[in-house]
Symmetry: D3
Subunit: 224 residues, 6 copies
């Protein structure tokens, strides 16, 4: 499956995606059993964004951004691009011109296991990017890749149509078919946290709220 563009991909329900955005990365990651986190080196180019969107995936040759142009045609409102290079590099595949195009198509941003440039412009345009590097290094348009095939991005498998949740903590991927279930679990988790937060804020200890003292003693913790 190389040098292909998969045109019709399934996406999760828009309400589910919106719900996941509210929950954020840490909660969603816990709710789905502590899986799906991209590597910690994937950092936002500016702070303060929290989003969820459907992945349009790109498998691109190193230092070659041709497939970005191909991918944008496949973007629908509410999608996010996820680019994984076929060999590690930090080149700046994405800048303000492509971002203009992405935004015009309703794209929400970019997850890229490589570099990005024109970051001041992207911040002004409010096109968020999570990347391995900020680097202006230019790319070529010589070699094909693929769009909407499964990719491994920053250590995690991402399929086209999977839900990407991203915020200041990083990036998490949720399988499209599990998205509704994960949202339900995340909401349950959040609901459950309200009471605990209030008790903790009032000075009660986690040791007591979670009833940990007995098990700690049993394991042999000694107070001196």
């Amino acid at each position: 499956m190389s040098n292909v563009v998969v045109q019709n991909i399934e996406r999760a329900d828009a309400d589910v995606i919106a719900g996941l955005a509210e929950q954020g990365v840490a909660t969603v990651h816990e709710a789905q059993g502590r899986k799906g986190l991209l590597a910690s080196y994937m950092r936002p180019i500016y702070a303060g964004t929290r989003l969820a969107a459907s992945a349009v995936t790109i498998s691109a040759p190193p230092g070659d951004n041709w497939m970005l142009h191909v991918a944008i045609e496949q973007v629908q409102d509410g999608d996010i691009l996820v680019l994984a290079p076929t060999s590690p590099n930090e080149d700046g595949y994405f800048g303000d011109l492509i971002a203009t195009s992405l935004k015009a198509r309703g794209g929400r941003g970019l997850i890229i296991d490589a570099g990005v440039r024109d970051t001041a412009d992207l911040k002004e345009m409010q096109v968020p990017v999570w990347s391995k590097a900020v680097f202006a290094q230019g790319t070529v348009k010589e070699t094909l890749g693929s769009v909407n095939v499964p990719v491994v991005c920053a250590g995690e498998l991402v399929n086209a149509g999977d839900v990407i949740v991203a915020d200041d903590d990083g990036v998490c991927v949720v399988r499209r078919e599990e998205a509704a279930d994960v949202l339900a679990k995340a909401r349950a988790r959040t609901a459950n946290e309200g009471d605990k937060r209030a008790r903790l804020a009032a000075g009660e200890l986690g040791l007591d709220i979670y009833d940990m003292r007995g098990r700690l003693a049993e394991k042999g913790l000694k107070y001196v």
Copy 2:
């Protein structure tokens, strides 16, 4: 000394701690003879904080945040948690719930040679953290560690009750018993800098203020 919680630790004088906070990391580090800096990878999750606080130390197993709950019971107003894992990892030991608890106990923040999550919430709550990584990776509560034992955090030895000074430049540890002396030296240093700053601001050169020209010539510096 494993699996222990040391309950009564000595702390430096509150006025000394407040004084060190005013001086900041770079000055304190110089004043105590250029020692005590944690590794440069320890970065604040948001800019603009300058603090000093007494260390409540945590030696924690990799990917296991149980001891954080134990440690918070030991926190007094004006303390800061210092967590060193027993094996390197980037897991997110600390998030908004534990931060709520820490804040309720008067804790000032966290120094962690691992990861942190819920960073947007922590910024909003103004609970500063200096960490090796921002990473949402969840942790377990299975294995004991220790609280208030000496730990090596990001390359520096930290004892319970030592003073932690932290700002946008990073983190510095001051031995509790040296804190008053270091503060005095830091203040002398700062006092001494005012005049120099004024002269430098007026365009006078360091070469002249510090009388360097002779020694440079003697060492063989050539102007061409």
Copy 3:
């Protein structure tokens, strides 16, 4: 050529330098044939600056900032310091006092393949620095280096008087003698982008604007 200070260096035309500042790193890098970028680890200590300035270069021993004082005497209005250590390290060669002196001489900032400290002060003073690390580690004044000799900084050769362009994307060096030509090419490039940006913003695809479909098909791209 060691232990020398070159006193009279040529600089590019001030208008050319100002013009390059407007263009920014990514455009200048492309305009000069995709060369001259310093490594991606060179990051600004605060966001939002875009500048161009003439390089006053410093070759300094590891952990020894003596030559910074020597270099500042050579600084003219519109210059920027470029420090390359002779052995890799992250020590904090530069802080608020030297910054005060640099600013008084009309210096615009610092590019340093090592560390910097007093970053909160530098932000307040608006003295921008692009560095490998933020680290308060103090330095000594024991060993000579050179000023205004060619240096390799973060992987790129920089000659005294070359033009440094720096912004949130990183740092690019332009040869002094090529600066006017590069500016002309950068302006042509920017002029050319306005129309494309408008068309992309209107939803037209890069695939069509750049007429890529034929070549993609020829190379074997398959839509499925």
Copy 4:
């Protein structure tokens, strides 16, 4: 699909696997279209091994090697273990005792995106390991993982039963169902190389053998 052990996995044909071992990593990677390479940080603990084997995959919690024991029961003659932790770490999951057990079951070695220990013993026993680190850090047996589920190891997706090819160049994964086809292509490639090698050894240039001069001139290469 968490906390499961998949017991019956399909493997590639033994002759195909043996054939791939002869071809080695670089050739197999090229033959399958330049895909499947694990990250370059995966290095052999001793030089000189070249092998191919069927993957028995392990998804293991950080710093917890319980699943290794579970996995060994699933190993058949000619298999290799592939361990991917669910959070990055360098702990020493594997040493001489487990290696003894693995060898007794016919296992050929280990691919691990973490650490290994007892490396001198493993070399003596001729149990090859490709790992991210050599590190004696002990692990616990507290938390479940899974065996023979798809894992992402050092940036590549590996399914149970996929063929692992490993040598001094690193590690490459071949999909089980593509293995025979990849072997055929690799053999064709190797056959084709014999003649070229002889001509190159005789001093003929690649420029001529591959007929590159025209295209180089066309692209604008200038000899000066």
Copy 5:
């Protein structure tokens, strides 16, 4: 305690040290409760050495090897040098001349959280070194440090006279006063492993030897 040389240090019993050498890093680390490992980046310059020796510690300025000469006078037969720089660097503090001197004094080798050079000579001389880097970068002799004070080397606290155990797996430090006890525990551990190794070599599974099946089932492991 800076700029001092502590002349009379206590060492562990020679028989205990010899016993620890036989046990090796992984066993000693386990026997003392999984502590004391230096960071995994500390690698031997050549494979095949296993030793234990008493630490003569050096706190040295970055890029300055003066204190090595001072330290060698303090070396007794069976000691090993442990050098920790006061700021991170990779400079080559140690080469064949100093190694000649060290060997003449009965020193067994060097643990250095920085660089080493003349590695081919050192291998020929059989002077083993565990270091962060191999790097020929020369050092100066300008600034004092200390000898036989506590240092943090590659993340672990080392006191003068502590026992260093080092082999192909890396480096472990054992407190002098705990050395005899750790040796006893290591020997018990090793004795206990013989039977297990035989059973594992005969094909019996760790699952059965360690009686893990019940607890795995209880935790919820599912075979499919």
Copy 6:
């Protein structure tokens, strides 16, 4: 100066080059004033080589090894290839086929700030390579670069015809026009070391041979 091949380069005298090979990296680096070392991450793919050779430089696009073929035509007996990519990457530009060609032309090996593959074959062929990575990742032949232009390789400027000295310690570059002078200084240094080595081997201390005690005392070193 892009997309050019410089055909006639000057080389240092063959005797001088042979002399530098005998001296090795550490001595040559010292003899020329502690300059010219490539970064410590440049490691030999196998131990035991010591060589000096004239640089044939290659500026190559990321992941594109076309220029290697062009460069080999420029190789004369006693040359070494030095490849610097225009953007950082680890791709395997060089393998056994190109090595066969290089060897047939009298080339001595390769210095590459990227990756290499077929390392087992290269070791057998005795074609030494110093590289940033061992990585089988294939490259393309699409974009031009240059041959025999100045390049920055692993942090050091290398001109065509400069002398490369490489051994197990790493790689050092000597300017062609300084080579004879550096050799003379290196020989003087080596001659001078024989006596010192004998005295050190006999147990005399560097403190005494180099007469350091007075200056140490003067700087304030205290023995306790």
